[in-house]
């Protein structure tokens, strides 16, 4: 039995195998290489190893051919050369044996991988010409080769075939290795069948037996039966021995090698145990370089397990034996220590040689320990003068000091260990070694003799040679003797009791069973004996060992049962795992199916109601643009009870959505009209300055683009309006998107558009704009976008103008329609437009609608739509205005307006304040509006109030439908008798508005708000503002005077006189030049230009002046022609512009040909500047505008300075007004 101590075997084995494998591989490669015919091809002169890098070396295979070392790169293909080729090769070589040597060389070269640059260089240096020559030779050679080879044997093998008479199906081709599996038989399975195989001996025996039996008239026994029976016998014996071996202990933990008496156990030098005698030896000590698989038996158990050995060299028995060369036995230790003796093989430590060389003197020595003489050879104490002799084993037993010096003298002579051995007799042992082994160990290192007791139990004295009777090897005495004692398996071929024999053969049908069994048993015993008691079936034996190890059989069974169970569980676990996988897959599938269902639904929906979906998405987009959600819900009539009076058909997104879902829309057009309605409602109801108004404008612009896009989409998709489904044939999708710069450019040229109406032009331009904006950005794109926008603007103007003209006529007809308003507006604008146009900046949208340009990021877009919006707005505005008016009267107007009102017209004023409701009632429910604004601030409705300021105009418009005729009249009338007509009062309420009143009819909101604003200032300088466009220039000059002169009065007058109103307006809202125009229109002064209204800025007006690079800054318009001595404005001194400033202004005006205003900033230094009209915006007219300006600055410090300047301006204003009116307190802070 082989047992490993401290379980290091696995490692060793693994190592071993690894080594073996490695070697095998190496051999394999060598073999393949050597298989290669030693052809001159491609074998290279190997570059010397030193020149190779490691990586290169790894890729090389070395071949030793004819004593030369060749290296072949493993990546080089190896040509397979047939014998024929070889022959051809040889022949060629013979043919050209003149140059044979050179040829081979040259032949070798081509295939060679350039060995390395160094060698090659050397080569080329030395014999460049030679190599060239050889190269050419090689060339020739290869030619000859190629020409000769074909002649020798055809390159293509010819197919041969024969017809088979009968087709025998071939064996199935071998399956890939993965299909085969080795299944080890379980113990039971193996138990069931006979493992034993007969050998010749058995056959002979069986033959003999059978012959006899046959002669006796019995049936012969078949070999199978024989095998089976032998097998059973073996098993029986195994069981028997197992029960005997029960007492054997498993591993002797403190076992020691009986050669060196050491218990050290290293991985490379483990202690082995003989499977029979339990002898423990080190691998090295017993010469077992490799641990064998399976059983390991010591030599003596292997050779003669039954006989106890006697050592030739000593009288002791037991221990590790080796055979001598002459067939006797000797202890390994003895062989080591006796100088004359050595091991023939120093690795396997056998056989022991040189016994004969031992001098007779040694044999004659008497061991002082065992006192025996002539038995074995003794060694003597190494002490110089001590001659005491002792047997090696006796010395071990006695625990003498025996030291093997690790100093190895490498005089390896094939003899023994080149070790220095020193052994001392009892008397000369170094101090302490006798008593205390361990002490020795520490000092001396490896002491063999230090372990007396160990040695003692290792050996027994053999009885004197003659009486060799007592075989029982009591050799191993130690404490563990019981375990060791049973190591006498030797002859222990267990006798199998007869009843067992019977049992064994029960299953076998053999005649004369008993007799046969007896014989068989005997034969078996003999056979076992002849084999030194070795079991006939190895497996069983080793099995037995392992079982022995596992102690009893029972726990083993228990274990296996448990194992079985475990296996089941594991299988179950696997199944469950598989189930889980499946379920997981199912889960995934279901999820996918759900997704599929959703997709399916979407697809079907798309199929059934594509129009609906398009509409929906469009609506969504539109709604998205309404960030403030102003249009989300219907207007709350509770908040704005008067809403319906102005708006006949309210509309909002939610309503639209509802309609959409109810399939009320058939096409984008329907949606668009509702959208437009919604926007126009808003524009109509809310005054221009309100957030609602602006939001509506913005929405209109953005929404326009979206709707256009939707239109195009619908077109390209091809929707059937009646069904809301796809058309059977998709329309040709030619393209909208295929448009080139040329198209755009041609369209940009007005000449090319002459044939179109303005509307068409607008449309075309818009489309192009959309198109261009959708293109990839480039210089050309942005340029064209700009051009397009400008063009659109101008076209828009044109259109408006034409509308205005129409409107005028209509107005004249006194129709109360919205159109009229437009018309009026148009009229008003007409003038302004022209003027605006003339002044020049296309971009300056203010002309169109003051707010539009300012608001719309895309000025281009905005204008396009205006045509549509124009009318709408007009209509809408009118109501809005009315509100505004009221509102303004109330809130905005508070301070100044009141004063104004009072001053100018008490009646109107009263109306404004208290009866503002009354004022408006006729036109619009003023009171409610007033109320509502407070409550619903921030709502669409709330803003109305602000607008109300503008209201004047709006009011008119509102009235428009009802009172259109009236309004116009009203205007006139109003002027005359404000009290009578609500409008007039309202208008009158605000100084601005009052003028507006008349204008209102004529001009849309734009003027009105301004008027409102102007109110504040108006008080100061209404008179100034009164300057009509025509008089702009004069106005300036005159302005001063006028301003000062008549504030309220002027207003009054204005109002009362149709003529005056215009001036007011102009003054009131320069920006809203339209107003004046409208007035003009009304009054028939078509000449007034709204733009000029800007110019109407009269000296001493406060304005927001916009210098390039700065935000708008509060400033005051100053009359450049003012008297040099300076002047007082309501008692406030106005600074006089320095001469150089004046000169600069003149120059500028000349250069640009535009009229410039001289402004005095309210900064600390009171700087001057000349600015064109469009850079100026009246200040103090509208809180929101002012606030906006205040917020304009991007940097906080800039904003701050603007604020301070604004405060200054307000203070100035205050002073001026106070001077005029006394008690008015103006609080600038409330603006901020």
């Amino acid at each position: 039995m082989r047992r490993l101590r401290r379980g290091c075997r696995a490692g060793v084995v693994g190592l071993d195998m690894g080594r073996g494998r490695g070697r095998g591989r190496g051999r394999g490669r060598g073999a393949t290489v050597s298989l290669r015919p030693p052809s001159p091809y491609r074998l290279q002169l190997s570059p010397s190893r030193e020149t190779l890098t490691y990586a290169q070396a790894q890729k090389m295979v070395e071949v030793d051919l004819d004593g030369r070392l060749h290296r072949i790169n493993i990546t080089d293909p190896l040509p397979v050369i047939t014998e024929d080729e070889m022959m051809a090769q040889d022949i060629v070589e013979c043919n050209s044996n003149k140059e044979n040597s050179e040829q081979t060389q040259s032949r070798a070269r081509p295939g060679r991988k350039p060995p390395n640059t160094k060698s090659r260089r050397r080569e080329s240096k030395n014999s460049s010409h030679q190599s060239r020559r050889s190269g050419s030779q090689h060339h020739a050679q290869s030619q000859t080769n190629s020409s000769q080879q074909p002649s020798h044997h055809s390159p293509l093998p010819e197919p041969t075939f024969r017809v088979l008479d009968s087709l025998c199906p071939l064996d199935a081709p071998p399956l890939p290795a993965s299909y085969y599996r080795f299944i080890e038989k379980t113990g039971e399975e193996q138990d069931r069948e006979a493992e034993y195989d007969m050998d010749e001996e058995d056959l002979a025996w069986l033959d003999m037996v059978n012959q006899k039996r046959v002669s006796d008239g019995h049936a012969s026994v078949s070999p199978d039966t024989f095998e089976l029976l032998i097998d059973r016998l073996e098993r029986e014996s195994v069981l028997e021995s197992r029960s005997q071996a029960l007492s054997q202990s498993a591993v002797d933990e403190d076992a020691f090698c009986c050669v060196c008496l050491d218990d050290e156990c290293l991985n490379s030098n483990v202690i082995l145990f003989c499977d029979i005698c339990n002898l423990a030896v080190h691998q090295e000590c017993y010469g077992v370089p490799y641990i064998p698989e399976g059983q390991w038996l010591c030599r003596c158990c292997l050779q003669s397990p039954s006989r106890p050995m006697d050592c030739v060299l000593c009288p002791n028995r037991g221990g590790a034996f080796k055979q001598t060369s002459d067939g006797r036995w000797a202890h390994v230790v003895c062989a080591i220590w006796i100088p004359e003796v050595c091991f023939a093989n120093t690795v396997f430590l056998e056989p022991v040689e040189g016994v004969k060389n031992i001098p007779p003197a040694r044999w004659k020595l008497t061991c002082y320990l065992c006192k025996q003489k002539g038995r074995g050879a003794s060694i003597q104490c190494h002490k110089a003068n001590c001659y005491r002799a002792f047997h090696v084993t006796c010395a071990q037993k006695a625990g003498l000091f025996m030291k093997i010096d690790p100093v190895r003298e490498t005089g390896v002579n094939g003899t023994t260990f080149s070790v220095k051995k020193t052994a001392f007799c009892e008397n000369h042992s170094p101090v302490g070694s006798r008593q205390d082994g361990s002490g020795d160990e520490t000092t001396e290192g490896r002491l063999v003799g230090g372990r007396g007791n160990r040695g003692q139990r290792s050996y027994t004295q053999s009885p004197p040679p003659p009486p060799r009777k007592k075989t029982p090897k009591g050799q191993k005495k130690g404490k563990k003797s019981p375990a060791r004692r049973s190591t006498v398996p030797v002859l222990l071929v267990p006798q199998i009791p007869s009843h067992r024999l019977n049992k064994i053969c029960t299953g076998v049908a053999v005649q004369r069973k008993n007799q046969f069994m007896q014989r068989l048993h005997n034969y078996w015993l003999l056979k076992r004996q002849s084999r030194n008691g070795m079991p006939l079936i190895r497996r069983l034996h080793s099995h037995l060992q392992s079982h022995k190890a596992t102690e009893q059989r029972e726990p083993d069974e228990k274990l296996s049962a448990a194992m079985e169970e475990l296996r089941y569980w594991q299988k179950l676990r696997q199944d469950l795992e598989r189930a889980r996988l499946l379920v997981e897959l199912i889960r995934k599938r279901e999820r996918l199916k759900r997704e599929q269902m959703k997709l399916h639904q979407a697809a079907l929906e798309l199929k059934l109601t594509p129009a609906l979906i398009l509409l929906r998405s469009t609506l969504d987009q539109l709604q998205e643009k309404d960030t403030a959600q102003i249009f989300l819900k219907p207007v709350n009539l509770a908040e704005v009870p008067d809403y319906l009076e102005f708006i006949s058909r309210p509309m909002d997104f939610s309503t639209m959505r509802a309609k959409l879902e109810a399939h009320a829309y058939c096409s984008i057009g329907d949606l668009e009209s509702d959208f437009n309605l919604m926007v126009s409602n808003c524009l109509k109801y809310n005054s221009k300055e309100t957030a609602f108004h602006q939001a509506a404008l913005h929405l209109r612009e953005v929404g326009g683009a979206i709707l256009r896009h939707a239109h195009r989409q619908a077109q390209s998709i091809g929707l059937d309006p009646s069904t809301g489904m796809h058309l059977p044939d998709s329309p040709n999708k030619h393209g909208f998107y295929q448009c080139t710069w040329e198209d755009v450019d041609s369209l940009l040229d007005p000449v090319n558009r002459l044939h179109m109406s303005t509307e068409e032009q607008l449309k075309a331009l818009l489309e192009k704009l959309d198109l261009v904006t959708s293109m990839r950005s480039s210089g050309g794109r942005t340029k064209r976008i700009r051009l397009l926008r400008r063009e659109i603007n101008t076209v828009g103007y044109k259109q408006q103008r034409s509308q205005l003209l129409n409107g005028k006529e209509e107005e004249e007809e006194e129709e109360g329609e919205d159109e009229k308003d437009n018309g009026k507006k148009d009229l008003v604008e007409n003038g302004p437009l022209t003027s605006a146009l003339t002044p020049g900046t296309d971009d300056s949208p203010p002309t169109l609608e003051p707010s539009c340009p300012a608001l719309s990021p895309l000025p281009g877009d905005a204008p396009p739509e205006p045509p549509v919006l124009g009318p709408v707005m007009a209509g809408r505005r009118s109501p809005g205005r009315s509100y505004k008016r009221q509102r303004s009267s109330r809130s905005g107007g508070n301070g100044p307006s009141d004063d104004d009102a009072d001053v100018p017209e008490t009646p109107t004023a009263c109306k404004q304040e208290e009866a503002s409701p009354d004022v408006c009632p006729s036109e619009t429910p003023c009171p409610p509006t007033n109320a509502s604004p407070l409550t619903g601030v921030g709502r669409r409705t709330s803003v109305l109030f602000k607008k109300a300021k503008n209201g004047a105009r709006l009011a008119k418009n509102k009235a428009a439908q009802l009172q259109n005729g009236g309004t116009t009249d009203g205007q006139t009338n109003g002027l005359d008798s404000p009290a009578d007509v609500p409008k007039p009062p309202s208008s009158t309420v605000l100084p601005a508005s009052s003028p507006a009143a008349p204008p209102t009819p004529a001009t849309p909101s734009s003027p009105s708000p301004h008027q409102l604003r102007s109110r504040g200032p108006s008080s100061d300088s209404e008179g100034d503002k009164t300057l009509p466009l025509l008089f702009k220039e004069e106005g300036f000059t005159n302005g001063l005077g006028k301003d000062k002169d008549d504030d309220s009065d002027a207003i009054f007058n204005d109002q009362k006189q149709s003529a005056p109103p215009p001036p007011k307006r102009s003054r009131g809202k320069p920006a809203l030049a339209k107003v004046p125009e409208s007035q003009n229109g009304d009054s028939g002064r078509s000449m007034l230009l709204p733009f000029d209204s800007a110019t109407e800025l009269t000296p001493l007006d406060l304005v927001w002046a916009k210098c390039r690079g700065y935000p708008s800054y509060p400033a005051m318009v100053v009359d450049p022609d003012m008297p040099q001595e300076g002047l007082l404005h309501n008692g406030i001194p106005i600074p006089v512009p320095p001469g150089d400033v004046l000169k600069l202004g003149e120059r500028r005006q000349k250069e640009t040909g535009e009229r410039h205003y001289l402004v005095l900033f309210f900064d600390t230094k009171r700087t001057w500047q000349w600015l064109p009209r469009d850079k100026l915006l009246p200040m103090g007219m509208d809180d929101t505008v002012d606030k906006l300006r205040l917020m304009e600055g991007k940097k906080p410090n800039v904003r701050k300075s603007v604020h301070t300047a604004y405060d200054r301006a307000m203070v100035h204003l205050n002073h001026v007004m106070n001077h005029v009116k006394g008690n008015l307190t103006f609080n600038p802070s409330n603006f901020i």
Binding site: A549, L566, L572, R573, L576, I586, E590, L604, A662
Partner: protein
């Protein structure tokens, strides 16, 4: 209009060995439960198919008659379709729920079994130790056994988030050397031979089977659901909610 091909549900049978030695009772009714769930799902499937047919019919009808329908009728018609779809959706949801339930169930059983197995292993080991058997084989066996178990216990499908799992491949790699020598003959075939299922569901951005620690996306509609830690650059379990890169992207878009 079938945009996606439909695939029939394979009626699969799972033969689960039922052994009731340790805690086997719970396993016994697993097959029944599985079967019940699957029949339920199949039932739902059939109903969904019916509904789908119905929808198709409705759609046909609608298409043929839109022209003559008033808008209210149209709405009505479409609503019918809509409701059918919502039914379908319900069914689908139910099915997903069922599948998840089933999964949980199997998972629960597996976990319980694992626990039992572990217990069993320990008992076995103790028994061995008590008997004092110390041979190297014995030790090896115990060791091997323990190892095998441990690996086995790592649930293969994704268990819970960040449960430790070993891919079959890894398992194989890890086990084979030890198992190849010395262990019980049955051992290797047991654990190792669980073949790599080609249909094993794949997860993560890398479309690999589950292994190691996995993290689940907290978006219930995430199409992928589970991710390897390494694939999403995670080393430890993040705190709070975690969304996979795709879901995060989608969210941002929204």
């Amino acid at each position: 209009m079938h945009l996606l091909c439909r695939w029939r549900k394979p009626l699969f049978t799972i033969d689960i060995l039922v052994y009731d030695s340790l805690g086997g009772k719970c396993i016994e009714n697993l097959p029944c439960e599985l079967q019940r769930n699957f029949t339920l799902m199949r039932d739902l499937d059939n109903r969904t198919e019916e509904k789908k047919g119905e929808i198709d019919k409705l759609a046909e009808e609608y298409i043929s008659s839109v022209r003559n329908l008033a808008s209210e009728q149209r709405v009505e018609h479409l609503q019918k379709i809509q409701s059918a779809y919502s039914k379908c959706k319900e069914f689908s949801d139910d099915k997903v729920q069922l599948a998840m339930q089933t999964y949980e169930m199997v998972d629960k059983h597996i976990r319980r079994l694992d626990a039992d197995l572990a217990r069993f292993e320990n008992e076995l080991k103790e028994k061995l130790e008590v008997s004092g058997y110390e041979s190297p084989e014995g030790r090896g066996l115990k060791k091997g056994e323990g190892r095998g178990l441990r690996e086995k216990r790592g649930p293969r499908g994704k268990g819970r988030k960040s449960s430790d799992e070993d891919s079959p491949r890894n398992k194989k790699l890890k086990n084979s050397p030890e198992f190849s020598d010395s262990l019980l003959p049955m051992q290797p075939s047991d654990v190792l031979d669980m073949p790599v299922d080609p249909n094993e569901p794949t997860y993560c951005l890398c479309h690999q089977v589950s292994y190691g620690e996995m993290i689940g996306c907290d978006n219930p509609d995430c199409p992928i659901e589970w991710f390897h830690f390494a694939c999403v650059d995670l080393a430890t379990k993040p705190k709070g909610k975690w969304f996979c890169p795709r879901c995060t992207q989608d969210k941002k878009k929204k």
